[in-house]
Amino acid sequence: MKNHYDVIVVGAGPAGSMAARFAAEKGVSVLMLEKDRDVGYPVRCGEAVSKAGIEEFIPSDSKFIASVIDKFSMNAPDGTEVVLPLEEKGYILERRIFDYELAKSASAAGAEILTRAYVNGLLIEDDIVCGVKFEYRGEQHEIKSKVVIAADGVESRVGRWAGIKTYIDFRDMECCAQYTVSNIKIDPNSLYFYFGEEYAPEGYFWVFPKGDNSANIGLGVSGMTGRKRSAISFLNHFMEKNHPDASILTQIAGGVPCSPTLEKIAAQGIILVGDAARQVNPLSGGGIASGMIGGSIGGRIAGESVKMKKPDHLLSYQKAWNDRLGKRHIVFDKIKNGIYNFSDKKFNSIAHSFSKVPMEKRTLGNLFKTALINNPSLIIDVAKVFVVK
């Protein structure tokens, strides 16, 4: 550990590791600090991702792929099931291995990594962020840097210390609980989604297969729902009703910020990436691929800014992110707001209509088109972000 780095990354999840890797690849010195003892553990994630989403950054490898997904099963409140074949394959990951591999790739590019390093403040001079304060092995440290990259997740505080508004409205927070269970019989290549009042109002319930006879079973509900009833009580209800014999291997809680990206994700000496920047896809709640994209753009621009000795170049990250995904996420958020408080009756009628669509015409775009048939302006939005056959 040196007393100065060009770039310090706070948090070693997918976004942090990609930020560290892409910065290091520009030939600058990088230190990544992780508050937990292990990179990749504890896992707080449903672990679903598209094949293309990870292959932009790391080749598919069976050691971190628990299941290969080729279809969705969408389940309406009255039990109507609609199967949607996927054109592009998806995966359920083993995040504890996947995150490790990503961190290793950052390390291979030249980044240094410290775990159990808890960042508890920023060094700020003349309103410019210039390093971090952190606790490591019981001692308080300070390290200077030219750029700090906040990749500290949904619980991010680093951005706040730099004066950026990062807290999320409780209505936009999907509050999640999940069990990883064994001894259940489901299609190992299908993701199951359940909608409606009983299982997950203002959110969705998921059953994602994880290898043989095992699955991640969980849900997210908006803080609005959480105000009345907690995620865990919905989860326990589902398990008692549908899988009373399952063994629970792991239980986790977590928050997924389902909103457009923060208005400000770059300032003098600091940028925010991943969940900390609210770069999650607000419609699906998926944040692995988008976080890696945010991290890679942020890391590259941070590296360039140091290399070129142009601190202002850092601010171009904002536009680069918006052009790549930020603007798309605004559209996803509009679609989410159009559907997330549909009544059970509405979900049932969508499922009945979509059941009549022939298999070869079933796409996510067409499903949203069916769902929003009475809302022409949102159908245009659907066409912007989905391939509609």
Binding site: E155, I232, I252
Partner: protein, 65 residues
Amino acid sequence: MIEILPDKCDFCGCCVGICPEDAIELKEAEINIIEELCTNCSKCIWSCPIEVLKFNRNGVENSSE
């Protein structure tokens, strides 16, 4: 006064993300409400997925310490 039940907490950070006052501090397996900053707005209670936070009208000391 808001109280965190440390034995039940999963340290997921959901409450930290929604706290408008930056009044919750989360380490690896340690969580504290910073009382001087907390305004008792209760948003953390609503967002907790596993019912770890509760409002205590009697003003019980933060039991996570």
